[in-house]
Symmetry: D2
Subunit: 407 residues, 4 copies
């Protein structure tokens, strides 16, 4: 019995994840990928959902697993997918998040301003490709949407891609929010390809509705939870304050690790050298810094850091209408009167803003439904569908944060 290469990884969400290609295993074993063990998928959400401490590594593996199942399904239905294409799309989904930095979205525009994580993912793929002698050429083409079979890209990135299928299932599993559970096995069974585009068979409409609803529920109940939002905004202000007061000889500020470079205020073009530094960063650097800064002489920095560390979070209100300027001033007046902060400090603790869905990518592409008779319809046009304006996640919400004492 000729036994081929095979590694099995235990995943509480999908059961067993099989790795049956040495090249895939090489990617997983690479330090760039192993770094994802140290970056939590849900950033600060565990402050509200303490189980949600799962990592980007496991999410990527899960999305890789679902992609494998989707490919098997499509092949059974007669869609032609070559061995090379299969490897490429699996490698691409495995690496789709490799460019995330610590605390992902929360810090995406704080640490590395002006560079999206997708750009960094692509950059890292190119470096890996070099090391692997061009084996990732096709993966990169598919990831970038440049391959002539769009459905392969759509498995990685579209309204119903394997990324979302995995993170919704996974985030539900680890938060314990059963509202987010989706029937991903049924959705997989309903995948089809027509004219090289990914679509959903007619019978899958209710499953897709359920999927969209679950996404909506998770969005409001988890991803945009007011307490999580408050914590994220606090972390952003901590990093911003640290950058503002950065001095090369402030040893109480410097960490003695790769984070120091980014505290100087990086902005602009990513070079290979900076990429190397970036790839050393993970959540631990940030937490370590926050712990250290809780004792920094700067009052704003130490106060914010110690509040975040000990979960003494700002109160946060989220609403559909813009926050009244008067309300903000009122809260500030109370704080000043109570002597909680000086007027210089106050903007770090009492502030308002727009809460956009930075965490998870907006939805501008369509879901196409394939009918038995060959007709294709956008799901929004389907007779009797629930999908309406109410379902698309609103672009904007408004929030205000202030200390609990400012009632």
């Amino acid at each position: 019995m000729a036994q081929s290469f095979r590694k099995i990884i235990n995943d509480p969400v999908h059961g067993f994840i099989s790795i049956d290609s040495k090249d895939i295993f090489e990617i997983i074993a690479h330090p760039y990928y192993q770094r994802l063990r140290r970056i939590r998928q849900m950033a600060l959400a565990p402050l509200v959902y303490p189980g949600a401490v799962h990592t980007r590594l496991l999410h990527s593996l899960g999305a890789y697993h679902l992609t494998g199942l989707a490919i098997d399904e499509l092949k059974k239905k007669g869609v032609e997918i070559s061995k090379k294409e299969e490897f490429a799309v699996k490698a691409a989904i495995l690496l789709h998040d490799v460019g995330h930095g610590p605390f992902s979205h929360a810090l995406e525009h704080s640490l590395v301003r002006g560079v999206d994580h997708e750009i960094i993912s692509l950059y890292i793929m190119e470096v890996l490709n070099e090391q692997m002698g061009g084996k990732l050429d096709l993966a990169i083409a598919i990831f970038s949407g440049k391959y002539h079979k769009p459905f392969l890209h759509q498995l990685i990135s579209s309204q119903v891609d394997m990324d979302r299928l995995d993170y919704l299932s996974r985030d539900s599993y680890f938060t314990g929010v059963s509202e987010g559970v989706i029937g991903y096995d049924r959705i997989l069974q309903m995948l089809a390809v027509q004219e090289d585009e990914l679509m959903i068979e007619e019978k899958g409409i209710y499953s897709i509705e359920k999927f969209l609803i679950s996404r909506r529920q998770m969005y409001w109940q988890v991803y945009m939870h007011k307490t999580v939002l408050a914590a994220e905004k606090m972390l952003v202000r901590i990093m911003r304050r640290a950058t503002e007061i950065y001095h090369d000889d402030d040893l109480q500020l410097k960490i003695g690790g790769p984070l120091d470079f980014f505290l100087k205020g990086f902005k602009g073009k990513m070079t290979r050298d900076i990429l190397d530094k970036f790839c050393k960063l993970d959540d631990n650097d940030v937490i370590f810094a926050v712990k250290k800064w809780a004792n920094h002489p700067d009052n704003v920095l130490s106060k914010l850091a110690s509040m975040l560390l000990n979960r003494k979070l700002l109160k946060c209100v989220i609403q559909s209408q813009p926050i009244d300027e008067d309300l903000l001033e009122e809260k500030k007046a109370i704080a000043l009167k109570k002597g909680l902060f000086t007027s210089d400090e106050i903007d770090y603790f009492i502030f308002k803003g727009e809460a956009t869905n930075t965490t998870y990518k907006p939805a501008d592409e369509n879901i196409q439904i394939l009918y038995k008779n060959g007709i294709i319809k956008d799901i929004a046009e389907v007779d009797n569908a629930l999908i309406s304006s109410t379902l698309s996640i609103p672009v904007k919400k408004y929030y205000i944060c202030y200390p609990k004492e400012c009632k």
Copy 2:
């Protein structure tokens, strides 16, 4: 409708955990307790089971929850438990693990030599008790086994305590090892108290058998997994090496945080001052150090650190018989011949030892079965029971670790 105090925490394992006492909430909100957010329950096990990144905080909350259910159950059966006792036992279970340091068992005897985590837990409880004006007096008495109703202590610490019930369920859930799933709800229903001792009703025998089997399965398949063991031994060696070569002015070794104090080699008596330092430590300090040390000039330290960081682990073999000295020497000879290490370094990379169940407490107490007719029997004496010598977890195994190249 008079609404009393109530906080709800989402737990993917038990559903909702209700906190309905302000004093309990105060304990949870304390920085000592919040620190447990940053200590993983299963230390290095996520290197093999990537989902198993759950924290000691959530485990403690889970054990607290089960204790509440157990008390409700016992009360329904007519056992008298006062409000004060109920609070005390709940506070005690909540704090039973508060004395754990980073990477728990793995580092228990490296960082703080000579002091068990139970001692530290008790110390922290006393400090908290002071701050809470004596409210924890009874909790401490129960925790220490000094209260006149042993069953209250047994809920916290015995063969079938709420600690084990929670961690087996939880570790199964997060690893995805379904073999460890236990029917904890049935066990809870079978709890009884006779002569102030906790026991299991006759009908619960099969559930208890299942519980013991699950524990055994988790022990061998997860807690004593050879790869996890290798990683733990490597981490112990990293800390030991760092302590050995520690110099006050080695800035590449020092971390700039609370860990530095313990690297000097603490041993001996815990004082209040040292306790404060200890309570600042968490997993992040250790990971941050390992990341930093991967570039330290000391070859042993940097090599071990970088191996652990990038999951290039030593190979590990576990067996029932002691490891043959010859095998060890053979592996060393290969390593030296291949030039992998110098002879000074070799003991850090090729070594053998006894693997005892350090992770989870040994079982020397009994499980008592209460028959309908009032008779009490030890489970080991039960007719037809599976419980036999094979079931009690062996105290010792033997292991050898060496680099993969030394085949």
Copy 3:
């Protein structure tokens, strides 16, 4: 330890169901209630979802269990519910479905024309009340909506009652349609009472949305599944045909059991005597009859019976618009041309109609949301809610059934 009365029933959906009242146990043990063991909750749905063979007995027990949890929850929140009220509402929910006949909704208006199952449930409760010496007086008052605390009735019958909470969870569990899974534990935690009306706390809005969506999904995917509908319509026609051709001396038609009485064509007032006959009927009588009639000389009867028995079902199309009369005639023409039926028989095999949600009660009451500040709003008025016209289940659909051969 004084052990009080306690029986535990295993339920795969809710875990353990505790019966801790002798009077409740007496109800369960009564032959009227035990009869529900022999009536399937989902009638003919197992022809499509083969796991969905669960009984009305287990559903009633599950609804009883959830009612107990809801009462515990409300009490914790300070709602006053006396021991007597608690027993009454539990007894009422336990008996809410006791008046169902075989194949429930499918045959509700075939066997016992003009009498709803709620009427029969109430009648049976009264008979039981007599036997139990008036112990069910209050239960009957609550069931009939005549008690001065409406929330007790609303637990049994309202938009978010324990009946629905149970059957949605249960039907999902046994069909395997994960889309129907609801977070019932969260909904229970969100129950509140204001001015004696049952309502949902503000934080529970998303859970309620999820509940309504799940109901919608189950409705279309399961309860109104076209194949299940076809089978139900066939069973109705089988019973109707048997009634039409009934003769007292047709021994191939008569069953030799309680069904015979109803085949004579009962219509009108339920008497105590007829109730006794009714309470002897269950699914087995009907299946036994269908098996027997598969060999009856009447061609229509035997053909329909044998088709249903062997799952050779009519094809069914469901749509939002009324079925075109021409389509019906076209199908009939094909059938006649192919010689499938005579023109006398054809209406039994090719027919159209309106498919109304006969299975599960329509929703005309509201769900009220209780805000923290005491304000009460109907869920339809809630800002940003998904609940819109699309969500309310349409009253009507149209269907046509015909043999597969008539393409």
Copy 4:
């Protein structure tokens, strides 16, 4: 996109079951197979576990599904299995239980004395094979153990066959006894073939242990539950009594269905004609009879029938030692004294016997473990294994049944 034949069946245990062969579908659609919809897998167990009403049809489909997964797994490992063999083994597992009569094991030796259900299954397969033009030749050879690749037969019938894997999972799911849950996905991953024999890879030892333990737990907690046993013995006595008093013109005894033939007391050789009669029997015939006989003038018959119908079951005690003759006499004396029965009747209500595992086949074959180095060991010889004499299910237990009033 060429869509091939495909039917999907919802199964709450395994998710989706795909039927992708027209011949397999033809078998499923056959009335012989559809009959299994009307035979419950667990006979009278729902009297104790009310959820356990699942059918033999769904179990067979589940076993078919697992067999498909096992074959995929073995093929991935390089085991050669031809398309023809794959169809054959799938057809064989699908039909492995087709010869079961109503209430399966309970009535196996009452209705059809002297003929095992396996013999009938084989007979039915042969009839089907005739109808299908010899397509089942190979399936029959494999089922009968006459094919030259034993592992194909072992997938259907051996210590770790797909039949057991399915029924343990399924019976756990529907009873709600979580102790029986097995990690069947892991076991499937551990299957291997060496020298044409089915074996388990070394890494699967703990999973197999878990499987054996689960089987043991289910055996004692469910399959041999004393109340279920009592009900089965009562049903056997009901059928025996009916047979004893059978007269061709006793219209209160005769059912007017296929059961009547067997009440005359069939014994001996199965002919094609009798097979046809047998294949018309299902659980409904028996329940219908029990309902009818509850009013039969024979006191023994009507009393037993009405007790079973209304769940007024005999008390049952099970023990390892033979029941003392004195105890039996004592119970009888009490009954006679209380006037519960005449001395003619008493043996039907008070009796003792040996309880053997009639429900599930005994285990006389071995489980072979395949080590990485190619060595094969029986699991009983594995170092440190739990498998010992205590694990093998005891052949015999002893029971006594008597009315509750005879205390």
